[in-house]
């Protein structure tokens, strides 16, 4: 029995608020046992004649596999590893989030089982009286999660990505409360596209400005990573491959993380403990807190035309695809932990109607975090990391679009790098899922 054969992504398996060694899991465990696990994991366990491939409930860690001519099974966190190992893209499949795949190669049999299903309160009415109890449950889970991380992170350098928004600030505040005293180094880190015409750090409205205020408010040292807009296209290939996605919103976000990952790797002396980055990611999906962005004459980051309750379900399931955080940081030897993704059920239990209320996230944030978060953060307008500021659209989105690197160019480059035919991309990601199979691949004809 062994774990994933290829790939560089670390697994985090939690059971009952404790970190569990993945090696303790067996390939013949029933699906419901895996349903009790939380974390970010993508495992390939081998028995005498069976392979089990299993992925975490939200699909934070990616897991791809391909079958060789004699039934041998290659797996990896990275699609490109399998391509480089000689597998044709059309013969590579993903294990969907919250699922496991058992394969008996000699019997040419494959079974896909769902081990984890989140309950979404899509249609529940917004009950103001119930909000404090939701908030209390969320805070209890977050506190337990951060305490569970203490032994895992002890003695390691820990970075918290700070955008100056509520989600990352709350993670930073909880990390300071529960983790700072255990880790080797506890630092906030933020990214800015260098603007030659101004002082980005000092300009009110930018992420850098708010991140600095947050760091000062929480008493955390802050490192600013700056890159000129002209330097960003050089990172695109890396982000397409490590981020495993060609869609512009994920590439733009992945560029921010690639710049941060490079900076962290450069600051990590050889032989030192593997650095960890904590991020506020997945909260936007869990709270359906996304909107399209207008830049120039175009609109970017289109969303399905659905109410927030229903939209949340699709945004969360869409985490199956895109590796803009974990994959991109792992490319530089940095582990990623997304605390909100470790217990998503406390967020999906929030009524869909609550998400429709103006300021719902800030209202919930105040109840969950209270004075632990600087008060000005609750007033700050929502900003996406790849946009860069609340006063104007900039960041990596503008940097790429201004240089002619649009959605079509990203798709084309992804195909060049991975060997996918352009038509193949339409079969590769559908409704936020990478292509998967429910039967032994030889028997399946994919459309």
């Amino acid at each position: 029995m062994s774990r994933t054969t290829l790939g560089s992504v670390s697994d985090l398996v939690l059971r009952a608020d404790a970190v569990l060694a993945a090696e303790r899991l067996a390939p013949d465990e029933p699906a419901e046992d895996f349903g009790r696990l939380r974390g970010h994991f993508a495992l390939h366990l081998r028995g005498d004649d069976v392979h089990l491939l299993v992925r975490d409930p939200l699909g934070v860690n990616k897991l791809f596999f391909a079958l060789g001519p004699d039934g041998e099974i290659d797996s990896s966190n990275h699609l490109v590893d399998l391509v480089r190992a000689g597998h044709r893209p059309a013969r590579i499949w993903s294990v969907p989030s919250g699922h496991l795949v058992r394969i008996w190669p000699r019997a040419r049999r494959l079974v896909l089982e769902k081990h984890s299903a989140l309950a979404f309160a899509d249609d529940a009415p917004a009950d103001a009286a119930a909000l404090p109890s939701h908030a209390a449950r969320i805070r209890a889970r977050l506190d337990a999660t951060f305490r569970a991380l203490q032994p895992l992170l002890a003695g390691r350098p820990v970075y918290v990505t700070l955008s100056g928004g509520l989600d990352s600030t709350a993670v930073a505040a909880l990390a300071k409360l529960h983790l700072e005293r255990f880790v080797d180094r506890f630092v906030g880190i933020t990214f800015s596209v260098r603007d030659e015409s101004s002082e980005p750090e000092a300009e009110p409205g930018t992420d850098g400005y708010y991140a600095r205020r947050v760091a000062e408010g929480l008493g955390i040292p802050l490192e600013l990573v700056e890159l000129s807009a002209d330097a960003l296209p050089d990172l695109v290939d890396e982000v397409l491959l490590a981020g495993q996605d060609f869609r512009d919103f994920n590439v733009h976000c992945g560029l921010v993380n690639a710049a941060l990952a490079r900076a962290i790797a450069a600051r990590t002396p050889p032989g030192s403990a593997r650095p960890v980055v904590l991020t506020g990611d997945t909260m936007n999906e869990l709270m359906a807190d996304y909107t399209p962005v207008s830049y120039g004459t175009s609109q970017y980051y289109a969303l399905p035309r659905l109410g927030p309750g229903r939209l949340r379900r699709f945004l969360v399931s869409g985490l199956d695809t895109g590796d803009r955080e974990v994959g991109v940081f792992a490319r530089h030897g940095v582990d990623t932990i997304q605390p909100y993704a470790l217990h998503p059920e406390v967020y999906t239990a929030l009524p869909g109607a609550f998400l429709e209320l103006e300021g719902s996230k800030q209202r919930l944030g105040r109840l969950v975090m209270g004075d632990l978060v600087p008060s000005f953060i609750y007033e700050r307008p929502k900003v996406r990391a790849q946009v860069g500021g609340s006063n104007k659209v900039g960041g990596t989105l503008a940097a790429l679009v201004d240089r002619g690197i649009d959605a079509v160019a990203l798709e084309r480059r992804f195909c060049q790098l991975t060997g996918f035919a352009p038509d193949e991309l339409k079969r590769w990601i559908r409704a936020g899922f990478y292509r998967f199979t429910a039967t032994y691949p030889e028997e399946q004809r994919f459309q």
Partner: protein, 86 residues
């Protein structure tokens, strides 16, 4: 029942994705994804429409089912899950 479902799906697709009435390529057997009638965002709206209209829950497993590429196949899937839900 299948004809009713096919008609409802076709009407939704024509209206939502602005299929021209004189589009000779569009029919109930055309591959909606490969012919470009529905994109990655649109497929989510289609699933939401099917679940809402026919009071069913579609599992992820249908996404890469060969039937889930054209109107006739989608209607078959809906009919199957409607029976399961009843």
């Amino acid at each position: 029942m299948s004809e009713d479902i096919e008609r409802a799906v076709e009407e939704f697709l024509r209206a939502r994705f602005r299929v021209r009435p004189d589009d000779a390529e569009f029919n109930r057997d055309v591959n909606l994804w490969e012919a470009g009638y529905v994109d990655s965002v649109g497929v989510i709206e289609l699933i939401a429409f099917l679940e809402r209209t026919f009071a069913i829950a579609l599992p992820e497993e249908i996404l890469f089912d060969p039937d889930f590429t054209h109107i006739r196949g989608i209607a078959r899937l809906v009919a199957r899950f409607a029976v399961d839900a009843a």
